[in-house]
């Protein structure tokens, strides 16, 4: 037991203080943003689908810290967390959820579709699994342009069952594309557990048929995610081709706001909540004296303020002009739309 604790401690001091505080702030921002978004949904300020990431925050935090700014990233519709981690502002994201013209995509994307060219964020895709080949295509372009950037291509356990995954794994390995595939296995695709859709419930094994280096990762710990990502990115960056990480995580809430998540037990949920990544990191930071209680509460306060401000910003922002319906359909000027 003592030796084990020592080991953990050794790992912890591997990173500078700011890294721990960055992970903490990142995860807390995502958590607080989404808790507030749920509240705003119940007030009907936000409509449509709202899939929250609560419980999975260690994944976006660990990926963000391991990647280079230039590494492109694409994921599915459960994407507020990753966009915020990459640097999208709470203001722009909240305004997008509110459907305001100041949103990250001028209110055109909504909860499932944040994009940012500046952040090299290729967005949230609403078609399950569709982003898997697209992510490989993003990698192909990097290889083609002879950069050493790596495409980070994220998808859920449900998406892992799409045929496109196999087509893509095959081509990505054949062509040694610089891509890290990240399967966020949160145990469920809507109401269907991983075990119910396949006899292969350890999803990292899906890489084996293609001889893709593949491994499972503890997704409730940002340090574990960071380390696995760091290794996988280095592999892909060195020209050795794709890497698959199955990041085992859990969503505390239902699939979307309309899902009461009756298909799983309270016990299962509580077991995951007991290893909550934010609490875990906070206790490590305090125990190991990486930062003081005061520093932690300063971060908490500033994030609460940031989210309050984001809601105020979203509230105060104007709705998009209905004429915008006809913009961003074509790059061509004066495209002749059929209007009557």
């Amino acid at each position: 037991m003592a030796t084990r604790a020592k080991k953990v401690k050794k790992k912890i001091v591997n990173y500078p203080q700011e890294q721990y505080l960055d992970w903490y702030a990142c995860m807390l921002r995502v958590r607080k943003f989404e808790e507030r978004a749920l509240m705003m949904y119940s007030k009907q300020k936000i409509r449509g689908f709202l899939h929250v990431y609560i419980g999975q925050e260690a994944v976006c935090a660990g990926i963000k810290s391991a990647k280079r700014i230039e590494d492109p990233l694409i994921t599915a519709y459960r994407q507020h967390g990753i966009a915020l981690a990459l640097g999208a502002t709470s203001d722009a994201c909240m305004a997008e959820l509110f459907g305001k013209s100041t949103g990250i995509n001028k209110g055109k994307g909504g909860s499932m579709h944040f994009f940012s060219k500046e952040l090299r964020y290729f967005g949230g895709n609403g078609i399950v699994g569709a982003q898997i080949p697209i992510g490989a295509g993003i990698a192909l372009a990097e290889q083609y342009k002879k950069t050493d950037n790596v495409s980070i291509t994220m998808f859920g356990d449900g998406a892992a069952r799409q045929g496109a995954l196999h087509e893509t794994f095959n081509m990505a390995m054949t062509w040694k594309l610089p891509v890290v595939f990240v399967c966020e296995n949160n145990g469920y695709a809507m109401g269907t557990s991983v075990e119910r859709t396949s006899n292969v419930d350890e999803l990292y094994k899906l890489g084996w048929s293609y001889e893709m280096p593949s491994e499972p990762v503890d997704g409730m710990n940002p340090m574990a995610v960071h380390e696995a990502m760091h290794k996988a990115l280095a592999h892909a960056r060195s020209g050795k081709g794709p890497y698959l990480l199955e990041i085992k995580t859990y969503r505390y809430r239902g699939h979307s706001v309309s899902d009461p998540a009756k298909y799983r037990s309270k016990k299962e949920l509580e077991a995951y909540k007991a290893k909550d990544p934010i609490h875990l990191l906070e206790s490590i930071i305090l125990q190991e004296k990486i930062a003081s209680n005061e520093q932690i509460s300063t971060i908490q306060k500033s994030i609460h303020q940031e989210i309050d401000d984001a809601v105020a910003f979203a509230e105060a922002s104007p709705l998009p002009d209905p004429a915008e319906l006809f913009t961003d359909n074509y790059l061509q000027d004066n495209y002749p739309f059929i209007k009557d």
Partner: protein, 323 residues
């Protein structure tokens, strides 16, 4: 004189020489020189980095094309035929067409999806479909469909240079069709129809290989003293509304010859446009000659019964002329 297949091959080759970002991918495009030999010699010239053989995985490679296009390249994705592109509709419809809107202008998708559309003999139900109407229904896409080698080469070059996603419909049966193509560089604008023959009694609008059917009908009609104006749409979306309306205002009669199914198809769209913008000029209801509203079975008699023919076109013209 060069063939349609050579015209497409030349267009792709010239654009790949001109722009390093352009590349070709698809089943059999490289080593095999293309299932219909459209990409003959391209692997030799550009190597496997830019002429890429894919597995039989339409959804996967279409998606890879979309991702590459979003990230600064200009892919040409060949489908062996559009029938197989159905597997990739998710990527074409849900991604290529929507990326610009979803990202509010951050990401465009300059890609050309190309391959033959339409029936090609007795290939039976699954290999005989026409997809112009399907794709033209989707905002965000542009749809080109033509067989004239001059037009096709010029339009293919425009398509590759265009910043929006394009579905380019060719014709399996017409790859050997010949036409004059000049040595020098030229392009043909997207969104412009061509008046192939001017006439005064009736307007016939068509596109792709149905132009051959319509042309034959026009010749026969001429012998019978009927002067038809023949328009080749070339681009389906955006539709060149003006050329059609101007012609109908002159001839007062319209027959649309369209290989796609009638329901909510290209012909339906044109009929709508005409009743809306040339209603007072019409001397007869707009008439159309489509493929039958059925699947196309294998046996020979079905093919003639199914497709538009010169005889059916002549009959339709006589109908609108009350002859």
């Amino acid at each position: 004189m060069i063939t349609l297949r050579e015209a497409i091959g030349e267009a792709m080759t010239e654009e790949m020489r001109r722009d390093e970002r352009v590349f070709l991918m698809g089943e059999e495009v490289a080593e095999y020189n293309g299932a219909y030999k459209v990409s003959r010699g391209m692997l030799e010239e550009f190597g496997p980095r830019r002429v890429i053989d894919t597995p039989i995985a339409e959804l996967g490679f279409a998606g890879i094309g979309v991702g590459a296009a979003m990230n600064g390249l200009r892919p040409i994705v060949e489908f062996m035929t559009w029938n197989f592109a159905v597997l990739a509709f998710d990527q074409i419809v849900n991604n290529a067409a929507k990326t610009l809107s979803q990202s509010a202008g951050d990401y465009s998708c300059p890609i050309v999806f190309r391959g033959p559309s339409g029936a090609a003999g007795q290939l039976a139900q699954q290999h005989s479909q026409t997809f112009e109407s399907w794709m033209a229904n989707v905002p965000g896409l542009k749809v080109i469909s033509c067989i004239d080698p001059y037009d096709t080469k010029g339009l293919m070059k425009s398509a590759i240079r265009d910043d929006d996603p394009i579905c380019f419909m060719e014709s399996e049966m017409m790859y050997g069709y010949k036409g004059d193509v000049p040595e020098e560089e030229y392009t043909v604008p997207i969104g412009k129809a061509a008046v192939r023959q001017s006439g005064s009694d009736v307007t016939i609008v068509s596109y792709n290989k149905m132009m051959i059917v319509a042309q034959k009908a026009v010749e026969d009609l001429e012998k019978q003293g009927i002067s038809a104006e023949l328009i080749d749409l070339r681009t389906i979306r955006p539709l060149d509304h003006e050329t059609i309306v101007t012609s109908v205002k002159k001839t007062n009669r319209l027959v649309v010859v369209d290989e796609s199914w009638p329901f909510a198809g290209v012909s339906a769209e044109i009929a709508y446009e005409i009743q809306k913008y040339a209603f007072d000029y019409l001397d007869a209801p707009v008439t159309r000659v489509n493929a039958q509203d059925t699947s196309l079975p294998y046996a020979a008699p079905f093919v003639d019964a199914y497709l538009p023919t010169p005889e059916k076109v002549i009959k339709a013209v006589k109908e609108v002329m009350y002859r």
